[in-house]
């Protein structure tokens, strides 16, 4: 069994829906993790997109279908060719994906346009999973920011005065307070593009991160027009939440084979594909155990 760590970055807002009304003031909120409240892309969405409908038709006997069934699994029966009997052609998937969790959340910043936020809880969970899967763990220590502190890299671009101003929250800037961490994460996730990340990196308290996971999602108003009058239909106005563009997600792929399937430069997740939603680019398949 092998495990690989994969990072994805949203190029456009992503809406992994919950498929149900919720206790949110937003009509269509994004899926969130129960224990943290952080937005998440469920593993099933990733898998469905990677599978791309291949090998689902039971009478499809092409080689492509056989590979897809082996890698992604299949449940069903089909008639034997030589008799009326049915045989079970179910098989368990060889490749397992985990949920894609938010690693860095972009938040509008007064200086530097936007900041890449993360918090100790996010990084500790990542480390715990890395350890469990036998992958190399983050080496830099994870400092614990004060509740209203933002720990930054040395060459940061997001400081104004001695503050980091994120939407309507002011945090005290601690320049260089998380330099080693910013450098390591930058290299790990962005490789050659690390510079653009490092100068925007901010390690904030779990509380502040959770706040922006709640309030920092993009809100998109949608209307349905009456075709004749071009006015809004009754009940035809609703609000959707989306995980903002630039957000970076981390996920794992576990299995015996089929890792080639992840080797795609980009994928499209969730609804509203035709209006450009849900485009993710793969930042790199890192480390193999």
């Amino acid at each position: 069994m092998q495990a690989k760590m994969i990072f994805w970055q949203a190029l456009t807002p992503v809406h992994p829906g919950t498929g149900q009304d919720s206790s949110s003031v937003i009509d269509l909120p994004v899926a969130r993790e129960a224990a943290t409240g952080f937005p998440v892309i469920p593993a099933s969405s990733l898998k469905g997109v990677l599978r791309d409908g291949r090998g689902l038709e039971k009478n499809d006997e092409s080689e492509e279908a056989a590979i897809a069934r082996r890698v992604f699994g299949y449940a069903g029966k089909k008639k034997k060719s030589d008799s009326e009997e049915e045989e079970d052609i179910s098989q368990a998937a060889e490749l397992t994906l985990t949920d894609a969790r938010v690693l860095f959340l972009p938040v509008r910043s007064y200086a530097g346009t936007f900041a890449f936020l993360t918090c100790p809880l996010v990084l500790e969970r990542l480390k715990r999973d890395q350890k469990a899967l036998g992958l190399p763990e983050l080496k830099a220590s994870i400092p614990n920011p004060g509740q209203t502190d933002a720990l930054l890299a040395q060459n940061t671009q997001i400081v104004h005065g001695d503050k980091v101003i994120l939407e309507d929250i002011d945090l005290s800037a601690k320049v260089g307070g998380a330099d080693a961490l910013a450098q390591e994460l930058g290299k790990l996730v962005f490789g050659e593009e690390a510079g653009y990340f490092v100068e925007r990196f901010a390690l904030v308290s779990n509380d502040v991160f959770a706040y922006f996971c709640e309030m920092g999602m993009e809100i998109i108003a949608r209307v349905r027009l009456k075709s004749d009058t071009k006015t809004v239909e009754r009940g035809g106005l609703w609000y959707e939440e989306a995980i903002p563009a630039e957000t970076v997600f981390s996920s794992f792929a576990i299995g015996k084979s089929g890792f080639d399937e992840i080797n795609r430069p980009y994928i499209q997740i969730g609804g509203q594909a035709s209006v450009g939603r849900g485009l993710l680019r793969r930042l790199g398949v890192k480390y193999e155990s």
């Binding site: 129960a34 409240g37 794992f252």
Partner: protein, 377 residues
């Protein structure tokens, strides 16, 4: 073979199916629910698979037979470093006059002359001393609170409802049209192995099992547990006592002082399978020296006085060897409490089955059904 504790971490929310049928097709149940915790047999099966994978001998009939004989005790839920146990069913938590939680302790009670009840075999009813509405959400108790409860102390437990539920709605996509397929909609309730509601209350959780590993082997570290092949990782813990709820000294001391006529209590830490449904079949055979009884029970004669047993729960499953479903059996749920009187023997011997299975059949015991906690009343 040395005993070890294994800790199971989830890499994604897990699905512990409750055995109800469910499918995405029209007109059927389209919601998959998840149990609080996986069944002992599910976890035992998973652990055996991991051991089998590590041995690398494949899964021949003989190998399966061997693995099937591996005794697995568990699962226990852990929150951070703390073991959590299913709430004992002789404790009723309710809101007191000032709104703070109170606990009513249910104890066996002899009805006055002329009064009676329809319980079987002279079993005593449990006395309800307060007419109150139980508070929900007190589903798990930390081990140290359980210890005090077993010693007969009054405990106001922390409110721990257990693993949160994460309901996700799945749709089948029509690949060609790029839209959801008609009728292919279903929801699944998952359980992340994490507790809390937000980062302030967040705590990682894990499942723990105890077993003897043949030749000190390490099970394969990555596998799949429960429904939908959700990924988990297994870690062998370096010491037993730091990761398991060993019988506390205070309970050992208390039991050492007990003799004939002592009143003892059995609390189930995992659901149990008994020949007579709710009632352990070994009660009549206890203290007779008969073979194949759960540990310690052959030497101590017990009389069942009363019981607080929850509603029966089904256990089924899929028999991979015969490729057919297993028949449904009914479990006495975790947290069920049995009140006994010691008629003969040394009560301290009962502690040999501390967090060891006390189900009636040997295979059910190997699967971890009915781990026992002992206390007094």
């Amino acid at each position: 073979m040395p005993e070890r504790v294994l800790e199971i971490h989830a890499l994604s929310p897990l699905l512990f199916r409750d055995g109800r049928p469910f499918s995405a097709a029209d007109g059927t149940e389209t919601a998959a629910r998840s149990l609080n915790l996986p069944l002992p047999s599910t976890v035992a099966g998973f652990v055996r698979t991991q051991v089998g994978l590590a041995e690398g001998k494949g899964f021949s009939q003989e190998q399966l037979q061997n693995l099937h004989g591996l005794q697995v005790c568990g699962p226990l839920l852990a929150r951070g470093d703390e073991v959590l146990l299913p709430a004992p069913r002789d404790a009723v938590v309710y809101g007191g006059a000032d709104g703070s939680p109170q606990v009513m302790k249910l104890t066996p009670f002899s009805p006055p002359d002329g009064a009676g009840c329809d319980l079987p075999d002279g079993l005593l009813p449990l006395q309800v001393t307060q007419d109150v509405k139980p508070e929900s959400g007190y589903n798990f108790w930390p081990a140290h609170e359980m210890e005090r409860w077993l010693l007969g102390e009054t405990v106001i437990p922390q409110k721990i409802s257990g693993l949160p539920t994460e309901t996700r709605v799945h749709v089948g996509m029509d690949h060609e049209k790029g839209k959801a397929q008609e009728g292919q909609l279903f929801s699944v309730a998952y359980r992340p192995l994490e507790m809390g509601k937000n980062p302030q209350t967040y705590q990682p959780a894990s499942l723990r099992v105890r077993l003897s590993l043949p030749n000190g082997q390490t099970p394969a570290p990555i596998g799949h547990l429960g429904g939908e092949r959700r990924p988990v990782a297994v870690e062998v813990k370096p010491s037993l006592s730091d990761y398991w709820f060993d019988c506390p000294e205070a309970i050992k001391k208390r039991f050492a002082e007990l003799g004939k006529g002592a009143r003892v209590r059995l609390v189930l830490a995992t659901p149990a399978l008994f020949e007579q449904g709710w009632k352990p079949g070994w009660v009549e055979k206890s203290g007779t020296g008969e073979l194949h009884l759960p540990r310690g029970l052959a030497r101590v004669r017990l009389r069942l006085v009363s019981a607080a047993v929850g509603r029966r729960e089904p256990v089924s499953g899929w028999n991979l060897r015969q490729n057919q479903p297993k028949r449904v059996r009914w479990m006495a749920p975790a947290g069920s409490v049995y009140f006994f009187e010691v008629e003969d023997g040394n009560p301290a011997d009962l502690l040999e089955s501390w967090l060891r299975p006390v189900s009636d059949s040997e295979q059910d015991r190997k699967d971890g059904f009915g781990l026992a906690l002992w206390g007094v009343w």
